[in-house]
């Protein structure tokens, strides 16, 4: 379906990434946000709080902490809303239990994470990419999530819409990662007309209350949804549950529930994955990066090419699930892979695993507090090309 | 059980739900319940209406029973429900 024009601020704007992410959420139909103040993400909810009363039929509430905001949105989703919360690394750490709950409830939910330097209170106003693993693995147990990484305000708008659409399609938590510098970067943002924006409607059940159970697969592996107040009188729990949503604490139910929760993402990974390539075919060296690091990598690659090196860029737009097949292929054809990321080495382990010894993988780390210098990445490219 | 109407009301029991906590027996205002001699499948003694002539159908046992095993009802209320049922109408709320 098309976006509701009430939430779409059509026009050409000069806007920062945080505000653009908020506009993306409104355009996608998000009408409930709960948040707790945390630098450098707060502008997203500040804008939401200002805009939602005028957009209409929606609410923002500032909760007492991140634990509360990450579950208030789950109440709102069960009441039929599209909902999100916005935070930064320390907030994601606090929300982890509810990320697991959202995965177990199987509800569409968007978390916007404007990343800052860590660990702990770290560098509240400065960038880093240290959340890439905690969004994937932070909660206990086995589950799958989707994560998108943005590198410009325009992407903040576009990918937030995509995040809401993916959340609805696969009924799982979806993360939108902004680097602090992307959140606060002012650039041109084009917001199209509402009828040019595709918005995924909730996968409402087509069943009657008599024949409905909340976890019976209805759309492929995905169960159809209902909302509280519609007479379905559902029950759901964070305990291991059967198709009825009732606790059923045994190995068989655990096996069935966890498998379906994981496979609904894994088996659809090809439809979810998105990446951009620049000169990867025929390249000797391939740089793999995401978020703001891709902007620096581009300059490094440009300079290395001037020196006659065949180097390409694989930019991960969707970081989780990883484009595993593509990285395996690349590793077979390239002489070396370089992973540049704003941490001391997180995604590099995944890349290394996928390269499977077919070519060496080099990490270009950055502890946070700034972004890489193009020369640092270029140096790694020149080193690898030797 | 007998159909004879001795008191003002009676009780209904799902004896397999009973866990023998004695709430109903101890709180019955007219002391008309007693523990059974026999056991239910779980091995608990359950209540029996030992003094039916004293039962008022007040449903205090129903309000107390933490296992949803027992409730009381007055004959008057039961007749009303039966009449409603005979008329084919939906049984209304008891209150």
């Amino acid at each position: 379906m098309k976006a509701d024009p009430k939430g779409v601020l059509t026009g050409i704007h000069f806007m920062d990434g945080n505000h653009a992410a908020c506009e993306g959420a409104l355009a996608a139909g998000c009408r409930f946000a709960a948040g707790y103040p945390i630098t450098p993400s707060t502008e997203v909810v500040e804008r939401f709080a200002a805009r939602i009363p005028v957009v209409g039929d929606g609410v923002f509430i500032q909760m007492e902490d991140e634990l509360a905001s990450s579950i208030a949105i789950q109440g709102a989703v069960w009441a039929g809303r599209k909902a999100m919360t916005v935070t930064s690394g320390p907030g994601i750490s606090l929300m982890q239990e509810h990320i697991g709950l959202a995965a177990t409830y199987e509800i569409p939910l968007v978390f916007i994470d404007v990343m800052r330097g860590g660990p702990s209170t770290g560098l509240p106003t400065l960038p880093a990419q240290g959340d890439i693993m905690q969004v994937k693995w932070g909660s206990h147990g086995d589950y799958e999530i989707i994560t998108l990484a943005t590198s410009s305000p325009q992407e903040c708008f576009d990918l937030t819409i995509k995040a809401f659409n993916l959340a609805e399609l696969y009924r799982c938590p979806v993360f939108v990662l902004l680097d602090e510098v992307v959140g606060h970067m002012l650039e041109k943002v084009v917001i199209p007309e509402a009828d040019e924006i595709e918005v995924q409607e909730r996968l409402w059940t087509k069943k009657t209350p008599e024949e409905y159970w909340p976890y019976d697969p209805e759309y492929g592996m995905i169960p159809g949804m209902v909302k509280a107040g519609d007479g379905y009188r559902i029950h759901t729990t964070g305990l291991t549950h059967d198709h009825r949503g009732y606790p059923n604490l045994n190995t068989k139910t655990q096996y069935e529930m966890v498998n379906r929760m994981i496979n609904k993402i894994k088996d659809n990974a090809d439809k979810i994955i998105e990446y951009e390539e620049d000169g990867v075919e025929g390249a000797d060296i391939v740089v793999i990066a995401y978020g703001v690091t891709t902007r620096v990598a581009k300059k490094a690659i440009e300079d290395a090419r001037k020196k006659g090196i065949k180097v390409g860029l694989l930019k991960l737009v969707v970081v989780w699930p990883m484009p595993e097949k593509r990285i395996r292929e690349i590793a077979k054809n390239a002489k070396a892979l370089i992973v540049a990321e704003g941490n001391m080495g997180q995604l590099v382990y995944e890349v290394e695993r996928l390269a499977a010894g077919n070519c060496p993988t080099t990490l270009v780390p950055h502890p946070g507090g700034g972004v890489h210098k193009p020369e640092t990445i270029e140096k790694a490219i020149l080193e690898a090309a030797k | 059980m007998t159909t004879e109407r001795k008191g003002k009301g009676t009780i209904f029991l799902r004896k397999e739900f009973c866990k023998g906590c004695a709430y109903c027996i101890e709180t019955c205002p007219t002391h008309c319940l007693e523990f059974s001699e026999e056991f239910n499948e779980k091995g608990y003694h359950f209540p029996v209406l030992a003094r039916p002539e004293k039962c008022t159908g007040c449903d205090i046992c129903g309000m107390f029973c933490p296992d949803f095993a027992i409730f009381g009802i007055t004959w008057k209320k039961m007749d009303k429900l039966q009449a409603q049922k005979n008329e084919g109408g939906k049984v209304e709320s008891r209150s």
């Binding site: 409930f32 609410v59 509280a228 107040g229 009188r233 | 009676t10 866990k19 129903g62």
Partner: protein, 304 residues
Amino acid sequence: MSEKDMKETYEGAGVSPQDQADNPVDRILRQERMPHIWCPGCGIGTTVNCFARALEKLNIDLDNLAVVSGIGCTGRVAGYLKVDSFHTTHGRAIPFATGLKLANPKMKVVVYSGDGDLTAIGGNHLIHAARRNLDITVILVNNFTYGMTGGQYAPTTPFGSIQTTMPYGMYEHQFNIPKLVAAAGAVYVARWTVYQVAHLTRAMTEAIAKKGFSLVEVMSPCPTLYLRRNRLGEGIDEVKRFKEWAVRKDGADVNDVGISRDKPLIIGKFVDIERDEYIDLMNRQLSKKLGDRYTLYGVENGEV
């Protein structure tokens, strides 16, 4: 067990029981989930009876009722009720309920959970919900302990009581729950025990009907992990003790209602006041500032 099987298990009076089965609690129970997990002599089931009877008195459309629970023994209540029911994480039933109510104001939202869940791990949410005065009802079952995890001490465990993590007797101060939520802004606060089933039912009725944040504290025995460990007998012994121990003082000063096993247990309706509700306040402020640009939220046919 199916609904039909459930009713057919009733015996009595020589009449066809499935025709006559009229236990109000049966109408809101998920029959297929019975029997429940609560121990013999536990009072939680009694509170559910009272809740069922309160709903019947209020004549609420059960399609518009949501019950939200946290974790623990009382946290299992939601799972047994045939309404939209949500079993959330430990301590977070109230913020879940806040999101649900705010996203769909036409729902009646009841949080049904225990003392440890609501006042310890969920304590911050409890006071903030009372402060906001969003229209939700909290039924707090206080059994002085953490039952599900094996009888550890709670913020409510009385002085001197033995618990697994207080093996030499409780020496921490307790929460006075009515005082806590009254100070934070609750508009309705009452405390009853499972002995006063009729009063408890009425209190639940009033609390659910009350607009704003309401709380009913229900004192309930935990025979397995509190009473036995403290040589206080069975569940029924505590219920009978409640009869002697409890003293009704409606309108009592909440400063005086802290619980000690050596002093009378003050019960009754402590707070019943009027205070602006959250959505009303939001609508008023936003209308004032935004005028025609703002459409009242959650209002259908002029009613919230």
